[in-house]
């Protein structure tokens, strides 16, 4: 049963990923991204990370991809890209080589052991209690400061996005003409 779930989800993840990279049309890419994200969410569930699976679906698939689509549609840049040409010399072959190199290196490094760290440093993941409870208690005790910082980060991101995206009134005549 586990294996079936894993294989199906993995296939979805890889197919989605390849789809993102290979689609010429951005909208297609975005939709393929959704496929990947769902696959990841499934894998999270398979590994008992229920909370994260939920967040994954809500935030990524629900918010981020929608945002992508929104931008694509709004700006009208849903044009196909010609994948046959490459202006930067050597970019593609080196990129493929680098990709190969990364994956080869990872597998080579993992020959002996995939995991070598200490166990349960920040608290056990199994045992009694729900996954949400455990994540929450860790988040609000051990990682409280970092958690609070993320709120600052988010505020900054929101403010930054507003500043960047709005038509600046002080930007003067040219912006005004464009609208």
């Amino acid at each position: 049963m586990d294996w079936i779930v894993f294989v199906v989800a993995a296939a979805a993840v890889l197919a989605g990923a390849l789809g993102v990279v290979l689609s010429t049309h951005p909208v297609h890419s975005a939709l393929m991204l959704v496929l990947t994200l769902f696959g990841i969410a499934v894998l999270f569930v398979a590994q008992e990370a229920h909370f994260l699976a939920a967040v994954q679906v809500i935030v990524y698939a629900g918010a981020i991809v929608v945002l992508f689509l929104f931008v694509i549609m709004l700006l009208g840049i849903d044009k196909s890209e010609n994948l046959a040409t490459e202006r930067l010399p050597g970019q593609r072959p080196i990129a493929y080589l680098a990709g190969l190199g990364v994956i080869a290196a990872i597998f080579l490094l993992a020959r002996t052991a995939w995991v070598s760290g200490a166990e349960s440093v920040a608290g056990a993941a199994d045992g009694p209690g729900s996954n949400v409870e455990k994540v929450a208690s860790s988040l609000f005790t051990r990682y409280l400061l970092a958690f609070e910082m993320t709120s600052v980060l988010l505020v900054i991101a929101v403010v930054g996005a507003v500043v960047l995206a709005r038509h600046s009134p002080s930007g003067g005549v040219r912006d005004a003409e464009e609208t």
């Binding site: 930067l88 970019q91 080196i94 990129a95 680098a98 990709g99 190199g101 990364v102 290196a105 990872i106 080579l108 490094l109 002996t112």
Partner: protein, 647 residues
């Protein structure tokens, strides 16, 4: 009076300061009289000190006055203080005496010059420095005076600085003197390193303990200093050029006082010289050669002052010959008589130049005896004195020197004798050309360029104005000089005539200064013979000159070969051998080594960084994907390293 010795240099210094502050208000001639008064005052004090010193018993004639500490550092302890002994008093007397006369003369001579007060400012400063030089109680304080007179000499030679030749001559004098100072300074260092003191008294008292090598080194280095200041071979070249200065300056600085400082120094350190017999021989040789060499040049000069200048070089050579022979007193004696007759000759020449409206070429003078009786009369006295005609003063002093040379080395004596003959010859030539013969200034300007050699510039032409024009020839009358100029001439003539009587008092007077008083050992018969030979040589010189220049038995060109007229081409030689290579080297250093090599290296490093940067900037393509690729490649590299390590 003895304790007032500080007044001797202080009075000229006061004069210098007062004139510096108020000179322009005092103006012409009050400034001159003030300066002269200071010198006279100084002379009076010197006389007082002299009599005080006379009052002391012979061997104790020494007085030291300490004013204040100048530089006391560790083992070095130099004070500003005076050493009064027969030698320094003798020097002070004739410096102040001759100095006062020349100051007085300058009052008249410089009359009308635009920078009249400035002249006396310099002159008083010079007198101060010269007196510090002779009265100092330490080598270092002497060096203060030594440099001070050098600087004043520079100021005064280039007094008419608008003439490029004058400015250049002043600079040349200073720089050449500095070469000598190099020796003097090293000598002081060595003295300090050896004795731990620079004061005359302890150093000279301990001189007897010196090792021969050290003594020779000190003596030789001091002699280098003396060679520079006293214009000996090979550093004499500045003195003829120094004639660019006003004539009183030539008389005071470049004949009577400053140039004899080297001789004074040699006599002062006689205990050290006595420990270095080899150096004495060198001194005698250099002196003798200089005397001869300069005399040959003097025979062919047409400029009235140049003749006297080379003659001065030659006479200074005599003094060094005396020093080298160990006849120190003869050297001082000749210095004193020389001061009288050479100052007289220079002042006389100045008077002639003044009377001839700034003409200096002897070939365009003649028969001035009629027009300038006082000048010619006194000049003739000076001529006889320098020529060594008995009983004038020069005869006595020169005779002593030749006697010393005879006892030292016969060859030196012979050269000295020939020089004496030549001295008589060129001085007679000068007298005949200037005061006898036809009135050549009346002829039209017939000078050929060759004859115009020397300095075609005319004395105060730049400042006195129209009087110096060439156009003055033919329609003017030479005139006798005013009283302020004539009086010093008369006094000096009297001194030059009779100073011979000082011979034996001076010997006794100076004896305490000497570590090993020198006594002539020759039998009296030899002495008499030498006197006769010398006298004959002098008269022969006069006679030859008479035949050539009065009787005109020989063509002028034959006795004035170009090589002598051009002073053996020494200046040209220096130009080629020293100046040109030095200039090339300096240019090379400044514009190649410094600008190209050293700075080039520095800028090269900068340029390298800059070039490297401009190469490297192409890496920054601006394409985000390129940067990402670089990151990826970097990541792969790091991973590869990890793989390699784990393997």
């Amino acid at each position: 009076m003895m304790h007032a010795v500080w007044l001797i240099p202080a009075l000229p210094l006061a004069g210098f300061l007062i004139l510096l502050a108020t000179g322009r208000k005092l103006g012409d001639p009050k400034a001159g009289y003030l300066a002269t008064a200071m010198m006279v005052g100084s002379f009076i004090v010197a006389v007082g000190v002299f009599f005080d010193l006379m009052g002391m018993p012979g061997e104790e004639r020494r007085f030291e006055q300490d004013l204040f500490s100048w530089m006391a550092v560790g083992g070095l302890d130099v004070h500003v203080g005076f050493l009064v002994d027969p030698l320094s008093v003798t020097m002070a007397l004739f410096v102040t005496g001759v100095g006062a006369l020349i100051h007085l003369y300058s009052v008249g001579y410089m009359h009308g010059d635009e920078r009249y007060p400035t002249f006396f400012v310099y002159l008083n400063l010079f007198a101060f420095s010269m007196l510090m030089l002779v009265l100092a109680d330490s080598f270092l304080l002497t060096f203060l005076g030594w440099e001070g007179v050098g600087a004043c000499s520079y100021f005064l030679i280039s007094f008419w600085f608008e003439r490029p030749t004058a400015a250049t001559a002043g600079k040349k004098a200073f720089v050449v003197n500095r070469v000598g100072d190099f020796g003097f300074m090293l000598a002081m260092f060595l003295i300090f390193a050896t004795f731990g003191s620079l004061n005359y008294v302890p150093v000279l008292e301990e001189a007897g303990t010196l090792a021969k090598g050290t003594a020779s080194a000190i003596a030789l280095l001091l002699f280098v200093g003396a060679v520079g200041k006293s214009a000996q071979l090979p550093l004499y070249v500045w003195l003829p050029d120094a004639m660019e200065g006003p004539t009183p300056v030539s008389a005071l600085i470049h004949a009577a006082t400053m140039v004899t400082a080297g001789v004074f120094l040699m006599v002062r350190v006689n205990p050290i010289l006595d420990m270095a017999p080899g150096v004495l021989t060198i001194i005698a040789t250099i002196g003798c050669l200089t005397a001869f060499f300069a005399a040959t040049i003097a025979c062919a000069q047409n400029d009235i002052k140049k003749v006297l200048a080379y003659s001065t070089v030659s006479q200074l050579g005599y003094m060094f010959l005396a020093v080298g022979s160990g006849a120190y007193i003869a050297a001082i004696f000749h210095m004193v008589t020389h001061a009288f007759f050479k100052a007289l000759l220079f002042l006389g020449a100045g008077s002639v130049i003044h009377g001839m409206h700034d003409e200096q070429d002897m070939k365009r003078m003649g028969a001035l005896r009629k027009w300038m009786p006082i000048t010619s009369g006194t000049f003739i006295v000076g001529w006889l004195a320098i020529a060594g005609v008995p009983p004038f003063s020069g005869f006595w002093s020169k005779d002593d020197i030749l006697l010393g040379a005879w006892e030292k080395n016969r060859l030196l004596w012979l050269i000295g004798l020939i020089t004496a003959l030549m001295t008589a010859y060129y001085m007679s030539r000068q007298v005949f050309l200037v005061f006898y013969g036809g009135e050549r200034w009346k002829k039209a300007d017939s000078r050929t360029p060759a004859e115009a050699h020397g300095e075609p510039d005319h004395e105060p032409a730049a400042t006195v104005g129209a009087a110096g024009d060439h156009g003055a020839h033919g329609d003017f009358k030479p005139h006798e000089s005013p009283g302020t100029m004539a009086a010093p001439l008369v006094v000096l003539a009297a001194l030059a005539a009779v100073a011979g009587i000082l011979k034996s008092p001076l010997e006794h007077w100076l004896e305490p200064v000497l570590a090993h008083p020198h006594h002539f050992t020759s039998p009296s018969g030899t002495k008499l013979g030498l006197i006769l030979v010398t006298t004959v040589a002098a008269l022969a010189g006069v006679g030859i000159a008479y035949l050539i220049w009065m009787r005109r038995r020989v063509k002028e060109g034959a006795v004035e070969p170009e090589v002598l007229r051009r002073a053996w081409y020494v200046d040209e030689l220096y130009q080629k051998v020293v100046e040109a290579p030095a200039r090339a080297f300096a240019n090379f250093s400044a514009f190649f080594v410094d600008a190209k090599v050293i700075d080039g290296t520095v800028n090269g490093v900068g340029a390298l960084v800059r070039a490297g940067g401009s190469r490297l900037r192409t890496v920054q393509s601006g394409f985000v994907r390129n940067y990402a690729l670089a990151v990826a490649v970097g990541a792969v590299a790091i991973l590869a390293y990890a793989v390699a390590r784990s393997a």
